[in-house]
């Protein structure tokens, strides 16, 4: 008991403060964007802000539980958590409740819970556990395959439930694997695919061929003296041509129209002003309203509870995925930048602490936390400002919703617990 109390005092205060600030501002903005009519009580359970208060109070209970559990417990039972999580995802196919086309919820009366949010925690623990296992060598291809299975099993289950956003989050684990030493060829391949996708869709197949050829040719001349250089370059060129051809086919024939529209919007493929105006009223509606709300904030914003577009509920989904547009409108450039900086500080702090861990499990877990939060942060705020294609995932600690708040809270506080325990690791 005495030891436990000590550990509580050793928790990282910076992370706690950042967490409290983010959750607090988050609630303030949910309150603003869900406010309608008179306020009887902030605990009014008929209103979203009232429910969120309850979620926040429950989070503090979760924090106490998470912190009071022995740190070793998480490492030891990582596989169990992972197993339970997978079962709960499978269970959705039988008991799941469909909301907005995704079968991602368990319903308990009016109350719903989204297991995919918690699966991120379980997967992070499992990945950390597997990598930190003494018998694991990440350089070995069969271990890499095992890791990919651990990561993509939940991802596959989630995409089968038609929740693309939550699936894509699992891409974040790439940062973890890269940090822990998978070959650099993966990074190069991913970068190459990314460039090929953008080039093929934005410009054209033939342009992409031409550019690939020119770059490789120049590189070949530069490195001519090395052996097998010609073969290698021809190989890469062949891969690039094959990839971009298949990307082209995939984009034109496989993916759904609404996804195609999102990509087309992101890469600004439509130049006809009339078409753009039409899109603003249809597929671009949410983004357009959200950008307008943010822009209208100016330097200092319209003031808390005074955002006209927020009051008028112009931005759909504003309490959840588009919560940042409320910040933009009511708090302006100063307030929005402040929130961005809070997230950056949180991420950098987690990364910094992860690198300080002596235990590999804690380090890998910390890295997973940072990667997942970073992915959410990048995609959510990027989407709201039109920098990233529309992908519906919540802004951590900010967006309305119990499951996501609890999952992120547990995710972060397990790390805080592990971190507080680092001195006992010897």
């Amino acid at each position: 008991m005495i030891g436990d109390r000590k550990n509580v005092f050793k928790v990282d205060k910076v992370l706690i403060i950042l967490y409290v600030l983010l959750v607090g501002f988050g609630w303030g903005n949910i309150f603003s964007s869900s406010l309608s009519g008179n306020i009887d009580s902030i605990f009014n359970l008929n209103e979203l802000y009232g429910k969120q208060i309850i979620f926040i109070l429950l989070s503090s209970v979760l924090i106490l539980i998470t912190l009071s559990i022995e740190a070793k417990f998480y490492e030891r039972f990582a596989s169990i958590f992972y197993f339970i999580s997978i079962i709960s995802l499978i269970g959705l196919f039988i008991f799941g409740k469909t909301v907005n086309g995704s079968t991602s919820w368990y319903g308990l009366g009016s109350f719903t819970i989204q297991p995919s949010e918690f699966a991120k925690v379980a997967t992070s623990l499992a990945v950390a556990k597997f990598i930190s296992d003494l018998q694991t060598n990440i350089k070995l291809i069969n271990h890499q395959v095992k890791l990919l299975v651990i990561i993509f099993l939940p991802a596959t289950l989630i995409i089968l439930q038609n929740d693309t956003g939550s699936t894509l989050v699992y891409l974040a684990f790439f940062f973890v694997l890269f940090r822990e030493g998978i070959p650099k060829i993966y990074l190069y391949t991913i970068s190459l695919i990314f460039l090929l996708v953008v080039s093929t869709i934005k410009f054209s197949l033939s342009t992409t061929f031409l550019i690939s050829f020119v770059i490789l040719f120049l590189n070949y001349i530069r490195t001519k003296k090395k052996r097998n250089s010609l073969l290698k370059h021809i190989g890469i060129l062949f891969i690039a041509v094959t990839l971009s051809t298949s990307i082209n086919y995939f984009y034109n024939n496989v993916i759904k129209q609404h996804q195609k529209n999102r990509i087309s919007l992101w890469l600004r493929l439509e130049n006809n002003p009339e078409e753009i105006e039409k899109m603003k009223r249809t597929i671009l509606y949410n983004l357009n309203e959200s950008e307008k709300a943010i822009s209208s904030g100016g330097w200092i914003g319209k003031g808390y509870l005074e955002g006209t577009r927020t009051i008028g509920k112009f931005v759909p989904e504003q309490q959840t995925d588009y919560i940042f547009s409320t910040v933009g409108e009511e708090w302006g450039f100063i307030g929005s930048s402040f929130i961005v900086i809070l997230f950056i500080l949180l991420l950098l702090r987690i990364l910094h602490l992860s690198e300080l861990q002596k235990n590999q499990f804690s380090r890998v877990y910390g890295y997973s936390v940072a990667s997942i939060l970073f992915f959410h942060f990048l995609v959510n705020i990027g989407m709201v400002m039109g920098l990233v294609p529309t992908i519906g995932i919540p802004l951590p600690f900010f967006s309305y919703g119990g499951s996501s708040l609890w999952a992120f809270t547990i995710l972060l506080f397990i790390f805080i617990k592990l971190d507080s325990n680092k001195l006992n690791e010897w």
Binding site: R179, E289, S295, S296, T308, F314, G332, L347, L348, F374
Partner: protein
Amino acid sequence: MRKSLLYISVIFVGILFISRLFYLQVYSNKEYNIFEDNAIRKVFTYPKRGYIFDRNNKLLVSNQPSYDVMIIPREVKTFDTIEFCNLLKIDKDFLVKKYNRTKNYSPRIPQVFLAHLSKEDYGFLSEKIRKFEGFYIQKRNLREYNTNIGANVLGYIAEVNNSIIEKDDYYLMGDLIGKQGVEISYEEELRGIKGIKFIQKDRFNRDVGSFKNGELDIIPIAGKDLTITIDSELQDYGEQLMNGKKGGIVAIDPSNGEILSLVSAPSYNPNLLIGRNRSENYMDLYRDSIYKPLIDKSLLNMHAPGSPFKILVGLSALQEKAITEKTSIFCNNYYQYGKEKRKMQCHCGGGYRNLSNALSLSCNSYFANAYRKTIDTKSPTKEAFDNWSNQMKSFGLGEYLNNDLSVGKKGIIPDFDFYNKWYPDFKWGATTTLSNSIGQGEVLVTPIQLANMTAAIANKGYYYTPHIIKKIEGSEINSKFRTKNYTLIDSTHFEPIIEGLSKVYKSGTAKFLQVPDIEICGKTGTAENFTKIDGKKTQLTDHSIFVAFAPKDNPTIAISVLVENGYYGSRWAGRIASLMIEKYIKGEVTLKNMEQLVMNKSLDEEYQKPFLDKPFKINQ
């Protein structure tokens, strides 16, 4: 590198986001303007439009509420169509057609379903309207006329058109604006300033509530009440006298320039231009090409002044010492002039004529002679002719009066350059323009200019700009209406002229128009006029013209009357002038026979002549 990839990514994304925020919120964001915020509905609250009173404080124009049935098509639910149709007095076809049309236009936007409910219909409907979802009643303000007269003076209001909206920021689609008469001249005073309510909308364009509890709302400022110079009783009487005739009567109080009546005939009932049948009525009035009731003839009808112009010719001759009050000539029933020995006919009866009886008998020869002597005997110099022209203009002729009436015409007083342009290679002389001396040449005037000229004569050499405004609630009327405009004729020259004008009534062309106990000075006029029928210039029956002021000493009314194609001056115009003067000064009319004769006379036959496609006789 492995350790730094995520660090670098995080910092890069942070910088990227802040740059994007800067671009969106600071760089591409204009300063917040609530009027451009489409999340805020701007609802205008219209103040009461000012009332209009006549000079005796009789309320002429006020406001009345009008009720429109509005529809929001998508909110309409099934309802008892028979009851609804009965309440609105419409048939089912109309209901279906109107519903479809509004729905096609927009299912969301409130639109007028049926405009201008009668008060009784409103009473019944207002109790039942809640049974018909998607329908509601909207109140508007319309004008209410407590009179049937003076449409040309009062004008009307109507919705603004696009060109006004573009020119003036104040007006928005659907706003009402004065379109004629006082309503347009004093639009700014009457309309007041509309207020604005800011209402928070949601993305479905529904109202959520008032924005910031109405802190920023602008309260409307009520329009000002106006008192106009018109004597509605005299105006009414004038309109009755003009029954069946085309033309105008303008009566002015010479002591201050106030317009006592401004009759344009035929006129129309101002009540026709409000209510449900407004546009039909308007088109009927607009299409009447014979009587043109929408044209204010007292302000816009330019015609030759005829003999009243001789007064000015005489005054100019006196001023230039071309004649004295004792100058006399012998009239041979014609005036012979020029190398070709051309003759100007005269109907005065012949004999010796001095200034006084030349006026009373309207001798052409006398004034032709005076005109020639004034300008030049052979060919006019620029100085001499322009001097004459300026003297004429100093009576308010040939120029805009520049007053507060919405329309007007300049008329024509020719000057030296005018004729030089006409006759560039010809040495024109006074004789070339001799018709001017009897008001028949190139000179053109409007009835209000003639009335103003008469006022200047009554005042012996000055006039106040004739105006319609007497009082504006809470502010002063334009000071130019209190300033004397002096003519270029010395006041001493008016004495003999006025004597002559008095004689017109006593023993001259108007001797049978005398009014008991009132000494009137007047002058008859008979103006030739022409029209084009199938491109051919055709003479029509002369206009009957009359100017007068009374009483001779300290005059209180100066009047001009034009009866189009009414033949000689004393026939209709003169009678009307006498009756108007008696009505105004005594308050009642004793010349009952004359009154009956005038009121019952219709000149419709005369006005139809040019449209009959067959030859016709004139001056019968």
